[in-house]
């Protein structure tokens, strides 16, 4: 019985924290240094968090797995709300931090809401650039790695080239790429593709080279041709390593995306951050950072979901 009471108390925590936050918002005097917003956007955010959590609690009444998750996450969500509360007190109620660089939560959330159409447009531009560059890089990288790993003669001649060109940081190519490619857009795609290409090539070829030879011998005794061996032994056996390469490539594609968008681009979320900074609108900078965090985190989550599907046969799994 007490266990049940304890669980309910846990579920109540986020709502208590929200209530305290609202009270603090209205009853602690503002320092008056922060620019006022049209609406209490920070409270909108708290309301949204509360609503989503309430839905989860209700859904938990009907489904055990959701209830378990909700109870488990309640303290974490409470912690996040308390963190926002402290942040709000420090930025709006005191003058501990310079208000120019540390805008109030009202203003940051306000930017996300008021400029949503413009922001979505920029997010879309960024995602398009990222996706096209990523697909080129991963595709070319996969085939380069396959050729390097499987055919010794290709490895002999091409490996030195990849070893010299590959480790050059992508950002070092920016000046050359911008001046040699016909359009900035094509240069950007090349740079992102390059960032993905190297780790995918490296991990694909090393994955194939480290396959135990007995796998190929078994498949030969079972009558597999070279093509069949590549498709049904080399690639699946190297898949864990290939995914690692794709993971490294994805992470470095984020870095490259920001670098190219901040250098001579005129759209995209990286450009937006840079622009907001140059006009001293730090609320926009934070809004941009929040969006980037969401995009990158969601991309990696998606990647790991695919990985778990494809590599279901693997014993240990990297947790994300």
């Amino acid at each position: 019985m007490s266990k049940r009471l304890y669980a309910w108390l846990k579920l109540l925590l986020p709502f208590v924290a929200i209530a305290i936050s609202v009270l603090a918002y209205y009853f602690i005097a503002d320092s008056g240094k922060q620019k006022k917003t049209d609406h209490p956007y920070y409270l909108f955010l708290l309301g949204a968090i509360g609503a989503v959590f309430l839905i989860a609690v209700i859904a938990g009444l009907f489904k055990d797995s959701i209830r378990k998750d909700t109870i488990e996450r309640a303290p974490l969500i409470t912690g996040a709300i308390v963190f926002l509360l402290l942040l709000n007190i420090i930025t709006t109620k005191t003058t501990l931090l310079p208000t120019l660089y540390f805008p109030s939560l009202d203003r940051i959330v306000g930017v996300l809401i008021e400029n949503r159409v413009f922001l979505i447009q920029n997010v879309f531009d960024s995602l398009k650039l990222l996706a096209v560059g990523f697909l080129w890089g991963a595709g070319v990288g996969f085939f380069t790695g396959l050729a390097l790993g499987y055919f010794k003669i290709v490895g002999y001649w091409i490996n030195p080239v990849t070893k010299i060109i590959g480790p050059i940081p992508t950002t070092a190519w920016i000046p050359l790429a911008l001046s040699t490619f016909p359009t900035t857009h094509s240069a950007n795609i090349f740079l992102i593709a390059f960032a993905v290409w190297f780790p995918v090539t490296l991990m694909t070829s090393s994955g194939i080279q480290s396959i135990n030879n007995v796998n190929f011998e078994v498949s030969r005794t079972l009558g597999a041709s070279t093509i069949y061996q590549i498709l049904h032994v080399a690639i699946p056996a190297a898949m864990p390593s290939i995914f690692l390469g794709v993971f490294y490539g994805t992470v470095s594609s984020f870095a490259t995306l920001m670098a190219v968008e901040m250098n001579g681009n005129s759209s995209g979320i990286g450009w937006y951050i840079n622009w907001q900074k140059s006009v001293m609108m730090y609320d926009g900078v934070y809004a941009g950072l929040i969006i980037i965090a969401l995009i990158c985190s969601l991309s990696l989550t998606l990647l790991f979901k695919v990985r778990d599907k494809v590599l279901i046969w693997q014993k240990g799994v990297i947790k994300w």
Binding site: V214, S219, R220, T221, L222, G223, A224, H232, V233, W313
Partner: protein, 261 residues
Amino acid sequence: MVGEIKIENVYKRFPNIDPTKEDVQALNGLSLNVEAGSFISLIGPSGCGKSTLLRIIGGLDKATEGKLYIDGQEIKKPGSDRGFAFQGSNLFPWLTVEKNIAFGLKARHVYKENKKDVDEFIKLVGLEGFEKSYPHQLSGGMQQRASLARALVGHPAVLLLDEPLGALDAFTRMNLQDEILNIWKKHNMTMIMVTHDVDEAIYMSDKVVVMSARPSKVEAVIDIDLPRPRARAQDTFQEYRTKILNVLNLGGQIDDVEYYL
């Protein structure tokens, strides 16, 4: 009956790791006839080239000199007439049991017409209910069974076994020895097995081929004239054991002899 193997004067030399030194002579003019449908064990000091010989029969390695025939056809590369069970199970970890067993049929593009063979061999090695399991979910013995089924599913005339049971515990091992004998009886195939285990060789084989230390030849072929099914605790085993060990000792290799009692 098919599955007759003829080995004529086979030499195998490997290049020395130090290129200035002479090649390593593994097989030195080895000849052997294996009757169709018989069960042969290859035994000898470690490093004597038993596995090398098996790999050459399987077509994985080439003889430096000499020729090998299966049913009169010269052996040049792996073929569907020979199945190969490797040391350890070596299942493909990314495929389920079922797909591992079907691999050879699919690679040879004969899967559709032989689909039911896969089920039949899964049943034969007692893995019903584990069709969709991945290798890491199986015990060592079950993995070895699946691996046997994979080698057998194309109905080879000859099954080559390279210490297939070496990595298993004693009880699983005895169990699988009996299962291999059952399969052999049921499918009327030729079995050539490399082993370190003198008792295993006596228990399972029609003939035990004792090989000498490198450069290796056939030192003796010992017929095991015991009725089947054989009892493991038989006194006559000791007789054969002594005979085989004596042959092995003739080379003056007492310290190198590896066997389990």
